[in-house]
């Protein structure tokens, strides 16, 4: 509870500072005189929320980012598993991926314009490319780090490649994959907003840039706040889903419960006095 109070207080303090600096038109090297105040932004926000454009922008941006991000998640996990599990795939895909990876996704705008018939598909392409590489790299590492014992266990049960993939590789790599997805959703936002600013029609990024060109500064801040809140919501959703799917991971908060159960069982276990010293002796002699 106190932690939530602290978080709220931190947000409130930031807003309060903003209000004080802008309302007093402070000009100490940093110039706040042109800045809209919190109340200006709040009024603009209320106006926007009541109008239809705001919600169109919002759903447009969300559709773009979710489509791009989901595509990136599927492609990234598939490519990551393939490259980690197959030497042939590593040799065939590895060099291409490594050359494309350093190119910032937003630098692919010309490529997107040339490749795709509509802006919409171009923006999704850029968003997808941005999220693809973090997912790919973290999946590859997570799959390579899996304990070989799990795979051996499933193979000696008669399990084939498909079973190993479904029962060992994917669930085992999930914690790592979600690390990549968390990074990926953040990069996706950066790229979807940038791409909208450059070539979009509708969308939060497009609107923010439009407001800037017509010198509507409160409008610019409405856009920024919207981006911030949406980004925070989507990354929290990814985080929560990840935590839910990897609940099996050992966590320190789980410690108290098993400890008492273990002690109860320990005292109940049969302890044949006759044999109690035997194994220890030979163990010492052998090792």
């Amino acid at each position: 509870m106190t932690r939530y109070a602290l978080r709220l207080a931190s947000l409130a303090a930031a807003l309060g500072l903003w209000q004080v600096l802008t309302a007093a038109d402070v000009d100490l090297w940093l110039r706040f005189s042109q800045f809209p105040t919190v109340t200006d932004v709040a009024h603009a926000f209320a106006g926007r929320v009541a109008g239809p454009d705001y919600w169109t922008d919002l759903t447009d941006s969300l559709t773009r980012i979710l489509t791009g991000f989901l595509l990136a998640a599927v492609l990234g996990v598939a490519a990551g598993v393939l490259v980690a599990r197959s030497r042939l795939a590593e040799d065939l895909l590895g060099p291409v991926l490594e050359v494309v990876r350093p190119v910032p996704a937003i630098a692919l705008v010309p490529v997107a314009i040339l490749l795709f018939p509509s802006n919409e598909q171009g923006i999704v392409f850029i968003t997808c490319t941005a999220a693809f590489f973090p997912v790919l790299v973290s999946t590859r590492h997570a799959v390579r780090a899996l304990s070989p014992v799990w795979e051996e266990a499933v193979r000696t049960m008669g399990g084939g490649r498909g079973r190993i993939l479904a029962s060992v590789v994917l669930p085992g790599a999930l914690p790592g994959i979600f690390g990549g997805l968390s990074v990926g959703i953040g990069v996706s936002w950066i790229c979807v907003i940038s791409a909208e600013m450059i070539s979009g029609q509708y969308g939060v990024g497009y609107r923010t840039w439009q407001d800037y060109t017509v010198v509507d500064y409160p409008g610019v801040f409405v856009g920024m706040v919207t981006i911030g809140v949406l980004g925070w919501l989507t990354s929290t959703a990814v985080e929560l889903l990840g935590r839910r799917l990897t609940r099996w991971l050992p966590r320190t908060s789980y410690v108290p419960a098993p400890r008492s159960a273990r002690r109860a069982r320990g005292t109940a276990a049969p302890a044949p006095a006759l044999h109690a010293t035997g194994p220890e002796v030979t163990h010492d002699q052998l090792v």
Partner: protein
């Protein structure tokens, strides 16, 4: 609930395992040469040796995970082509899938074997009951003790009714008292399955208690195979024949 006869594996004969002139090891790194070993159906063969002598590698070869570098590995006279559900492998530790509950771990080999969902749930629960884990069926492995994890592994290995069980120091990481309890449990749950067992250990007393025969590994080969008098009999601990054999084994292991 389910009667104990339901959890017994179908009355199948254990597998006969044989290595003939086998060289065992990873490619380019052989660890055992000229291995000639026959394991009779239903027999428990204990394999002892110092750590690093190739015990685990031998077991992985028998499982079919590692092809022999030379010679032959056969089950019932036919050469092995790869791993099979016929030969279950029990690992030293941490081989349960950590994201599955103990019950889901035991269900996995049954699912792979094509047992319908309702049946495999019942069978898994019956097996967990047999190894004393009914209360922990829905826990994930890291929430139970090391001994409980090994019991779950035992249930997972035996549930699909394998014809051979290959055990790689399954109790090696447990304390002495838990280990003795696990040995008794193993004898009890193996009863009636007819499965052939190859049990690798570095503990001579464990080998002498469990094994019908004991194979000694040393200096890159199988140095001896000895019959054990009165196997799986706790009171045979002081038997003169057993004591003499124990002394022999410890001497030949060079300790």
């Amino acid at each position: 609930m389910t009667s104990s006869s339901d959890v017994r594996a179908p009355a199948r004969r254990g597998a006969a395992l044989a290595l003939r002139g086998t060289v065992v090891g990873r490619p380019g790194a052989p660890v055992l040469h000229g291995v000639d070993l026959e394991v009779a159906p239903g027999e428990i063969l204990a394999v002892v040796g110092r750590s690093g002598c190739g015990k685990s590698t031998l077991l992985r070869t028998l499982a079919g995970l590692l092809p022999p570098l030379a010679g032959q590995v056969a089950q019932d006279g036919r050469g092995l082509t790869g791993p099979s559900a016929d030969r279950a492998l029990v690992f030293q530790e941490d081989a349960l899938l950590p994201w599955r509950t103990l019950r889901a771990n035991v269900e996995l080999p049954l699912a792979i074997g094509g047992v319908p969902r309702a049946d495999r749930r019942a069978q898994a629960e019956a097996w967990l009951a047999r190894v004393g884990l009914s209360d922990h069926a829905r826990q994930v492995p890291h929430r139970v003790s090391g001994g409980q994890r090994q019991r779950a592994q035992l249930a997972r290995a035996l549930a699909p009714g394998p014809r051979a069980v290959l055990m790689d120091e399954p109790f090696g990481a447990l304390d002495a008292q838990t280990r003795a309890g696990m040995q008794d449990l193993l004898v009890e749950v193996l009863h009636g399955t007819g499965a052939t067992v190859v049990f690798v250990t570095h503990d001579v007393d464990e080998a002498l208690f469990l094994g019908d025969r004991v194979a000694l590994l040393g200096a890159g080969r199988v140095s001896a195979v000895r019959e054990v008098p009165r196997p799986r009999d706790r009171t045979a601990h002081d038997d003169p024949a057993r004591t003499a054999l124990r002394r022999d084994i410890l001497t030949s292991l060079g300790t």
